[in-house]
């Protein structure tokens, strides 16, 4: 796996995602403070931190599910503004997987995967179906293609959600605690899917507390607290020699739990 280059210039030529001095408020409440983050093509970032530290807010700013008030976010060279045009451009390149899957209940698994390519990219029905079947095969759930979300287990639903996002052929995938809503026995199937995706070279930002996954897959692990990035290091260093007291405390708590 690539060695991370912590010195990568922010917003440099090979930055897939660049966040420069990003600040976000929810009304009076400051949710993100001076976020600087550059993610290169093919890089895999794990984002962790206590609940309420701003992890979701950070990744939701990248595809503009949340707006931000200060700084700059670039995705694949597009500067993310407040206008529909750049937001559209960015959303077509960035896939997102949610904690609660958010599959569309009234559409079959196959239709879930075909909807956005057809309606957003204007792909033909035949092509959308071929892509959907291919990617459902890749997450090993093709045999459930005609079923509805409610007929699947949580782990299966999350794998469909991953396939659905991949059907847009994104350049980046964002994961917001994709395994936290799952029964323990289903966590592995989803993590395995994510690992396979990482091995294929997908650029990924994963909010997760699965530290085994972080060790195995991440180029860098980022620890957030109170809306700021506290520590950022390759996994060996992050787990072996955390520099900040808050990181140590956090790791102590969650490694103890697992």
């Amino acid at each position: 796996m690539n060695q991370p280059n912590a010195e990568a210039p922010l917003g440099g030529a090979d930055a897939m995602i660049a966040m420069n001095h990003v600040e976000k408020w929810y009304g009076e409440f400051k949710a993100l403070t001076d976020i600087n983050l550059a993610v290169r093509k093919g890089e895999r970032i794990v984002l962790c931190g206590p609940s309420g530290s701003g992890k979701s807010t950070l990744i939701r700013c990248i595809n503009h599910l949340e707006g931000y008030q200060k700084g700059e976010i670039r995705v694949g060279g597009t500067k993310l503004g407040d206008d529909a045009k750049t937001i559209d451009a960015v959303r077509r390149e960035v896939g997102m997987v949610f904690q609660h899957f958010n599959l569309f209940p009234h559409l079959s698994v196959l239709q879930n995967c075909m909807l956005a390519p057809m309606r957003s990219l204007g792909v033909s029905k035949a092509e959308a179906e071929a892509t959907a079947r291919q990617l459902l095969g890749r997450v090993k759930i093709l045999e459930q293609a005609e079923k509805y979300p409610a007929q699947l287990s949580g782990g299966q639903q999350q794998r469909v959600a991953i396939a659905r996002a991949l059907c847009m052929r994104p350049k980046v995938m964002l994961f917001d605690e994709p395994t936290s809503a799952l029964d323990p026995e289903m966590v592995k199937e989803v993590l395995d899917t994510m690992i396979a995706l990482a091995e294929e070279g997908m650029t990924m930002i994963c909010v997760t507390h699965e530290m085994g996954f972080a060790r195995q897959v991440a180029n860098r692990v980022i620890f957030m607290a109170s809306g700021a990035i506290v520590e950022e290091a390759p996994p060996e260093e992050f787990f072996g020699n955390p520099r900040h007291e808050r990181t140590r405390r956090f790791l102590g708590e969650i490694l103890h739990k697992h």
């Binding site: 599910l65 077509r92 949610f98 909807l115 956005a116 957003s120």
Partner: protein, 222 residues
């Protein structure tokens, strides 16, 4: 109690009564179609970015839901001509029914839309769909499913309310019945008969809606 039943006028008037059922259906269908348009449009405008638009929709809903239907239909039929808008009884009745049903539909549909989790909308947006597409392709069907029982009973109510249009002599079942009754003085027989007619109409509609529900809203949910 010395009333002898005599159904002769009803039997003689039967073809006219049956034809009038078509008039009732026409008013009901027109009213429902308009109510759906107003309902869906109103829900979209109800959450418009422009504040006065939101207020207008809210005011409309309050106005319609807190005034009698008979007054509304009289207003359109008798008062609007003073402002230069003159409509025949049938279009008047359809518009009044559509406006009235639409005001209720806005609130009902809105409840359905609000029952759809934020996560559904976010998933659609994250997939690159526009707000309007998210509404049409993702929110609408599950929302309609959630409210289908209340929306359809509102529609049955709207259908029965067509009888109020007899007050402006629109062509429908009650006004035809009134005419037969005033010619024959057979109130019990005439109104008893159309009571049964309305009962059958309601029942047929409910079966029809139930069939739609099984056809379109039978996807499994947890």
């Amino acid at each position: 109690m010395n009333y002898t039943l005599d159904f002769t006028p009803v039997i003689e008037g039967m073809p006219a009564l049956l034809m009038a059922c078509l008039g009732t259906f026409g008013l009901a269908l027109g009213g429902m179609a308009l109510a759906i348009v107003i309902g869906v449009g109103g829900v979209i405008l109800r959450d418009s970015k422009i504040a006065p638009v939101r207020w207008l929709v809210k005011a409309f809903v309050e106005l319609i839901r807190n005034t009698p239907f008979l007054v509304q239909i009289f207003f359109i039929y008798f008062a609007l001509p003073l402002a230069g808008v003159r409509l025949d009884p049938t279009p008047t009745a359809i518009i009044a029914l559509g406006i009235n049903g639409g005001a209720y539909a806005i609130e009902i549909i809105r409840g359905g839309v609000q029952s759809i989790g934020k996560g559904q909308i976010e998933a659609g947006l994250a997939l690159g769909l526009h707000k309007a597409q998210v509404f049409r392709l993702i929110v609408l069907k599950p929302a309609l499913r959630a409210i289908f029982p209340s929306l359809t009973s509102q529609f049955v109510l709207l259908t029965l309310t067509t009888s109020v249009a007899s007050a402006i002599s629109a062509y429908e079942l009650t006004s035809v019945a009134q005419r037969i009754e005033s010619d024959s003085f057979r109130s019990f027989e005439v109104y008893g008969t159309i009571t049964l007619f309305y009962l059958v109409i309601s029942w047929v509609m409910m079966r029809f809606f139930a069939a739609i529900s099984t056809r379109y809203f039978s996807y499994p949910v947890k």
